[in-house]
């Protein structure tokens, strides 16, 4: 597909040309009686044009991680660590500067497109406003950009679409509009929080195909959050598996699917749904998602793990997974006491290896 949207990259600064660099991110919600530790130390890097899947059960902290990337967490959240989008630190940055980065540096699309657009304004009004916030263009140019963006997401008759109100469109059309709105800001990173969960199966597949094409044509990095490992396999370059506020395994899609190493990942895979069955499918893993105000000590998965031993009551280090099927094993790691692999000499050694890969 030729690209109708003329994309001039948002400046990516800093070392390694990472579009997203999350370092030791912790997010908690202090309450009167207990504190919910929604995210407990996450490291995650996404390079230019990379599609990174983030999977895990409901409540594992995926959405909170996504919102951290745009500084969209509610005021009640306590955030520690660093999140850099195109080299710009998000944590502690004032609203005004964040507003520029939102949409421009990283844009977000949401689970339920039916609720994501304001019902009282036409699609055009909303798109124009967003484009105006990020780009210094005349009225006519803004309209032209909006139409181009709608063409890029393959929405028929963009001219008419701009005049419509959200209630006059289907869920699939609305998700395309939201994606177009994101594209029109020319972001370097698209954060997609379960963007297909609310859509029916055929539309899901269309949106996935569209995202893949857009990533390729616009050199757009995507953080793709989903319940659905099937979608990850068909779309992503890399995948991180999240459990109880931590990433427990991460690797290239090829490596991780060939050699799932964390018991939780394997459980996820054994319940892997057909594309489209989506939400309910992960509920088959026996046991409860831990209460995040008092997560289990050590490896958080140990109460539900068949392999759990006394060792699992201690925190598990990240271990590089070495497999005979692949020689690019440096990027695949899991945090489990039972993984026999190459232990990195230190955390830094691991992150260096990962950086090398991502560069």
């Amino acid at each position: 597909m030729s690209s109708p949207v003329t994309t001039k990259p948002f400046e990516t600064t800093g070392p390694g040309k990472q579009v997203l660099e999350i370092t030791d991110l912790k997010v908690s919600f202090p309450g009167l009686f207990k504190t919910v530790q929604a995210v407990r130390s996450i490291d995650l890097n996404i390079g230019v044009g990379e599609i990174h899947g983030l999977v895990g059960e409901s409540g594992s902290g995926k959405s909170i991680t996504a919102m951290s990337c745009l500084g969209l967490l509610p005021d009640s959240a306590v955030v520690e660590g660093s999140v850099k989008v195109t080299g710009h630190e998000i944590n502690g940055t004032p609203e005004k500067q964040l507003a520029r980065l939102r949409g421009g540096g990283a844009a977000m699309i949401f689970q339920n497109p039916m609720k994501a657009l304001n019902p009282f304004f036409s699609v055009g009004q909303q798109m124009f406003d967003v484009i105006r916030c990020h780009r210094d263009l005349s009225k006519n140019e803004i309209r032209a950009e909006a139409e181009k963006a709608l063409q890029a997401v393959q929405l028929p008759d963009p001219h008419l679409a701009l005049k419509k109100y959200p209630h006059q469109m289907s869920g699939g059309q609305l998700q395309r509009v939201v994606i177009a709105m994101a594209l029109a800001c020319r972001p370097r990173l698209l954060i997609a929080d379960e963007p297909t969960t609310a859509l029916d199966v055929t539309v899901q597949a269309q949106i996935i195909t569209l995202l893949r094409a857009l990533a390729r044509d616009h050199d757009l990095a995507i953080l793709f959050i989903t319940h659905d490992l099937g979608v990850v396999a068909s779309l992503c370059d890399r995948v991180s598996v999240m459990y109880a506020g931590e990433v427990v395994e991460s690797g290239s899609v090829g490596d991780l699917f060939a050699n799932p190493s964390h018991p939780y990942t394997r459980k996820l895979m054994s319940t892997v749904p057909k594309l489209g069955l989506g939400e309910q499918s992960l509920d088959f893993i026996p046991g409860q998602v831990p209460d995040m105000s008092s997560p289990p000590a050590g490896c958080a998965f140990n109460p539900r793990c068949d392999m759990a031993t006394d060792a699992c009551l201690q925190p598990a280090n990240k271990v590089l997974v070495v497999s005979k099927d692949t020689d690019v094993s440096g990027k695949h790691w899991a945090a489990c006491h039972h993984v026999t692999g190459k232990k990195p000499s230190s955390e830094t050694a691991l992150s260096e290896t990962l950086e090398e890969h991502n560069a």
Binding site: R100, F110, L117, F120, V130
Partner: protein, 338 residues
Amino acid sequence: MAKYIAQRLMMMLLILFGVLTITFVLSRLLPGSPVEMMLGHHPTQEQIEEARAELGLDLPLPLQFTRYISDLVQGDLGKSLRTGRPVLEEVTKRIGATFELTFIAMFWVVVLGVPIGVVSAVRQNSAVDNVARAGSIAGVAFPVFMLAMALQFIFYGQLNWLPLQGRLDAEILLDHPFERITGFYLIDTLLAGNIEALWSALRHLTLPVLTLVIVTLATVTRITRNMMIEVLSEEYIRTSFAYGVPKVRIYFQYALKATLIPLLTVVGLTFGYLLGGAVVVEFVFDWPGLGGFVVFSIAQNDFPAVMGATLVLAGTYLTINLIVDLLYYVVDPRLRVQ
């Protein structure tokens, strides 16, 4: 759309008919007879019979009612027993004063209440929010007539900044007369270019308007705040934030428009409060409007006057709410049929 308006108009007529029936029945059932009022103390039985016949009170009730309705349809609201003049004339003479008072109060309630409500919602538990909440409790707890008299005591009695009552200074009528075209003195004096009268009218309006604003502002502020909080938690508001739309624009454009629909309802209701409040306020400030007229007429068993004025007040309230319903169409695209 036309069908909708027709439906609403039918509804309005039905409600008005209900109001009529209730006031009619009440006027005939309540103790105290207009005849006593007309005839003074110790009338003879003969005199009473005569007066009753004159007023049509000797007829059976259903007949009285149908007669009242048929007169009404011909634009005849009967004669005031107190003044002996047609009720329609008495009512139209006073309605301008009531409208001027309530419309201006309405204007301030909306202009102050909506932004304060928005700010309270955006900055929950801030100084603005706390003052607004304390104010809303005080506003509801304080009786209207006490507030009116307290304001009179302070601004007239102690400070002597503002007049005690009425719509104009007495001298104005002599020295700077003006033609009453709309019945809104601010507009009439402006049209006449009569600055002295305009100033006098403004000063007289201040305290009654202030009283009405104080007693209704808190309600509007609170409802706006709660509705705004609800809207701000909507996903589409988060979308606006996620795309870098500036805060002020999100609050005052995207969120406020969504709040506008419930807010319109509130404005319609507020007008009801204001009309209710106006009855007391007009009485305390000797304001020559419909509210004060109703109070006097009730006190003197002037049934035709009470019924006529009630009908007009109810009609006004219903009209305002009809306009509100029509405005929903303007605001909410989902209601517009393509």
